[in-house]
């Protein structure tokens, strides 16, 4: 009886594994099959040539064409940030490099260049009063993209589910072994879920936009006649909210809120959670 049950479980597990492999291969195959169009490749080549010849505005324009064609990657945003910085567009440099960092947070080139351009931003956000524990946690979360966090959680989920299934399917003797590894696996899954939740919170609470104009007056309302509340400069990260005709609501912290012309800020794209 036990033999027959184990054989059934093995068949089931094998089928699921096969399904997973097929689907994964299919997805990766689909990605690999999505070849870059010729015009995008030409734009990339033109951008690299322009950058090498120190025609940074032309390089920036060419990279933007690639982005507008519906293609993106952390490296593309990195190159956009470099070109923008060299072209004197500090706000856009911060915007692109921050986008790149959010996609590939552990890339050393991206982190380096982002540190350089952030140092050139005039406005300084007031330092938070968080404890070193929270700061360390934030730094740890910063090292992982949303997709990384989801991938880790899914791996922990697979491991825990397989171990639990095996634990249920195997006989009592084998259960003694699985019981020992099942508890750490479930603990790992719990930690991964907590990490995923914290990452989601961090992503939601991160500044959603950046000032791209050299200097912009933040007004009390969406009209030029409104009182100027404060002034921000290129590269300042801020939160963005409602949008009216040609105006965007922005805020820095709890008290500094107002409206700026829509062209003065750019909003980061939605976080990519897909593993």
């Amino acid at each position: 009886m036990g033999t027959r049950t184990s054989a059934c479980a093995r068949r089931l597990a094998s089928s699921l594994l096969l399904l997973l492999v097929v689907c994964s291969l299919g997805d990766h195959g689909a990605r690999a099959a999505a070849a870059v169009p010729q015009r995008v490749a030409e734009s990339l080549q033109a951008a690299e040539q322009a950058y090498a010849q120190e025609r940074y505005s032309a390089a920036l324009a060419a990279y933007r064409e690639v982005l507008a064609s519906g293609w993106s990657s952390a490296s593309l945003y990195y190159n956009l940030g470099c070109a923008a910085q060299r072209a004197g567009r500090l706000g856009w440099a911060v915007a692109y490099l921050e986008e790149a960092r959010r996609r590939a947070p552990r890339d050393p080139d991206i982190r380096h260049n982002l540190r350089i351009v952030s140092g050139q931003v005039r406005d300084r956000r007031p330092p938070g009063d968080a404890s070193w524990v929270l700061e360390a946690l934030a730094a740890l979360l910063d090292a992982y993209a949303p997709a990384d966090a989801l991938r880790s959680t899914l791996a922990a989920f697979w491991l825990a589910a397989l171990l639990l299934a095996v634990h249920w399917l195997l006989g009592p003797r084998a259960r003694r072994i699985t019981r020992r590894v099942l508890a750490p696996a479930l603990g790992l899954l719990l930690i991964s879920l907590i990490g995923l939740a914290l990452k989601a919170y961090q992503v939601e609470s991160a500044p959603a936009g950046v000032v791209v104009a050299d200097e912009v007056e933040v007004r009390a309302g969406p009209r030029n006649e409104e009182t100027v509340q404060f002034v921000v400069h290129a590269g300042t990260l801020l939160d963005v909210g409602r949008s009216t005709e040609n105006w965007r609501e922005v805020w820095l912290g709890e008290e500094m809120r107002g409206w700026v012309p829509e062209s003065a800020v750019t909003e980061f794209s939605a976080p990519c959670w897909r593993p």
């Binding site: 994964s24 060299r86 350089i116």
Partner: protein, 632 residues
């Protein structure tokens, strides 16, 4: 917009006169009586006005050391028993009382009394001083003023003391002549020749001989100044002069003009209309003398000034230094770093302040050297303008954010500033102090020096990534792909495992139920293992074993060895139809006969084996319908 006004302190009386003038003939008498009565009642120190208030004022807030500044302490609403102001001593300042004046006025229907004490303050050394609060005791209550701040600069570096604005000064001799009528206006321009953007001071003066009764001033049109940038030089100034032995009260408003083009430029004319007292022709009444000024008619006198022409010269092209940005005046330069020490890659600020007399608003950029090892970012400029001694003064600060590319001590070549000095009539170049800054290695670059002794000397953005086409991915649509959906598979696996586990537990709890559940599958597997070409005795034995095992599993007892009648009874009890019972018994009998050679047709073996499957199916259905099959 400037507006010439009457002398300080006369505003209340002016209102009084207006009140009198606005009343018709007989009513004036009544008003005069009432006011006279109130005035008499108010005389012994009435305090019907507002709450007591101490007003402390300085004629200037900035004065050089060993200079003098005038301070007034005005007590309003105090009784006559109020004490003199008590000024707390200040180390570095000396106070000398100059005098006291009282004023009683009628404001908005209420009587107001005020007493002003005037002090001269002598400054001894530079610093920032706080004067006051001044205390006054009245009726057992102590009143305090707000304190005042006085800045004292080093001797010679500040502004020289001059005639204070808004206060009277002793009469002075003035070159010129008076004009008929005892009241006239003039504009004074100084200098008459100037360079483009050099300050030209324009003064509009209204002269009033002391015996002329001026009631009101209106319709003041300041002198025009086309071709000039105009800046005000402060509020109206009142003083007295002597012209041809006669004393005049002078009201003056001044502007700083900055020519914007070369050539002969005209300033003015200006105009002001004064209202003078004119005697009434009708017979004077009893109170007419008492309210003499109020009951006089007034006469409008328009006063025009002559336009003035000045010659404006262009700045010389000859000898113009490189870096001249159009600034005209007399300036000094000051450079300052906000930190003495910085870290590589982190910003710090350099401030360059151009300070002096001239057209501050148009001060141009200084000459910025090309500093090696530093990246420079424009961080804006700030302007502060003030007026002193009828000169526009102030400062303009240029700020640059610097980021060091390398560690070590970086020497900054001094910033230069080129301007045209109109008094010396030549270009001048001034240079700021040379600066240096110690730059530490950037954080994360290995500290002061890496383990191998390599020191980072530059910090700039890294080069672009090349060949990124392979990394590009189409911007995805929202939603889950098949690859993401497959991550739900563990849930299916868990569900299956849970089902298996549950079934296994159920089987373990009820062995009989377990045997019945698996009886048919076991029988079919055994039947499938029976080789088709087996001998008849062997086939008969296997078929009998299969059937007995199947029936044992369902009936819960061993079949082998039981009598046929007992088996029939058990099958009947299990509600197995008679046809299937007969078939079972027939098969068992045939198998025994074939096995033991007691008869039976061996040729039937294949047919019996083929029919066995159908028999098992029908038996399974019969057992499941029977009481034994509940729960299976």
């Amino acid at each position: 917009m400037h507006r010439l006004r009457m002398m300080r302190g006369g505003r209340g009386s002016c209102r009084l006169r207006r009140a009198c003038r606005s009343a018709a003939g007989p009513a004036r008498l009544v008003i005069g009586l009432a006011i006279a009565t109130l005035g008499i009642l108010a005389a012994p120190g009435s305090s019907w006005a507002d709450d007591p208030r101490i007003d402390l004022r300085l004629d200037r807030r900035q004065v050089p050391a060993r200079g003098r500044v005038e301070m007034s302490v005005t007590l309003e609403g105090f009784s006559r028993r109020a004490s003199k102001p008590e000024i707390p001593p200040v180390d570095g300042l000396s106070f000398h009382e100059l005098g006291r004046s009282s004023n009683i006025s009628w404001v908005n229907g209420r009587l107001s009394t005020s007493t002003t004490y005037t002090y001269a303050i002598t400054t001894h050394r530079a610093g920032s001083y706080t004067i006051g609060p001044v205390q006054v005791e009245d009726g057992g209550t102590l009143y305090r003023s707000e304190p005042l701040e006085l800045g004292v600069t080093a001797a010679g570096s500040g502004t020289a003391p001059g005639p204070p604005r808004g206060t009277s000064v002793p009469p002075r001799q003035e070159v010129g002549r008076g004009e008929p009528g005892g009241i006239f206006a003039r504009i004074l321009v100084e200098p008459r020749e100037a360079f483009v953007d050099q300050q030209v001071t324009l003064r509009f003066r209204l002269y009033q001989r002391e015996d002329v009764q001026l009631i009101d001033i209106s319709e003041f049109v300041p002198p025009t100044a086309e071709g000039f940038w105009r800046e005000s030089l402060g509020e109206q100034r009142d003083f007295r002069v002597e012209l041809e032995g006669e004393r005049y009260h002078v009201r003056e408003i001044a502007w700083a003009l900055f020519p914007t083009r070369a050539g002969e430029l005209t300033i003015g004319p200006g105009r002001v209309t004064c209202y003078l007292a004119a005697p009434r022709r009708e017979r004077r009444r009893f109170f007419s003398d008492f309210f003499d000024r109020g009951l006089l008619d007034r006469q409008a006198v328009p006063l025009d000034t002559e336009p003035q022409t000045i010659l404006v010269r262009a700045l010389s092209e000859e000898g113009r230094p490189e870096g001249f940005s159009g600034s005209v005046g007399r300036y000094a330069i000051e450079t300052r770093l906000d930190v003495a020490e910085a870290r590589q890659g982190e910003p710090f600020t350099l401030s360059v302040t151009i300070r002096g007399n001239g057209h501050i608003q148009t001060i141009g950029e200084p000459v910025w050297p090309a500093w090696e090892g530093l990246r420079v970012f424009d961080s804006g400029e700030a302007v502060s303008v003030s007026q002193a001694q009828d000169r526009v003064a102030g400062e303009k600060t240029f700020t640059r954010v610097l980021i060091a590319n390398r560690a070590g001590t970086i020497e900054l070549d001094p910033v230069r500033f080129v301007f045209f000095d109109p008094l010396a009539k030549r270009y001048r170049t001034i240079t700021g102090e040379p600066l240096s800054i110690a730059v530490k290695t950037a954080l994360g670059v290995g500290g002061e020096a890496g383990p191998s002794g390599i020191v980072s000397v530059g910090d700039d953005i890294l080069y672009i990534h090349s060949g990124i086409g392979a990394d590009l991915q189409p911007v995805r649509q929202r939603g889950l792909s098949a690859a993401v959906a497959v991550h739900g598979a563990p849930l299916l696996l868990l569900a299956a495992a849970a089902w298996v586990r549950r079934r296994r537990r159920a089987l373990e709890r009820n062995p009989q139920w377990s045997r019945r559940t698996r009886a048919l599958s076991g029988a079919r597997q055994a039947l499938a293992r029976l080789a088709g070409g087996a001998e008849a005795p062997r086939t008969a034995a296997v078929l009998a074993e299969i059937l007995e095992a199947y029936l044992s599993a369902w009936l819960g007892r061993a079949i082998r060895g039981s009598r046929r009648s007992e088996l029939r009874g058990m099958l009947r009890e299990a509600e197995i139809p008679e046809a299937e019972t007969d078939e079972i018994l027939g098969l068992l009998d045939w198998a025994e006969e074939v096995r033991f050679g007691a008869g039976g047709d061996p040729a039937e073996a294949p047919r019996r084996a083929a029919a066995m499957g159908d028999l098992l199916r029908r038996l399974e259905a019969a057992f499941r319908r029977s009481p034994l099959g509940s729960g299976v």
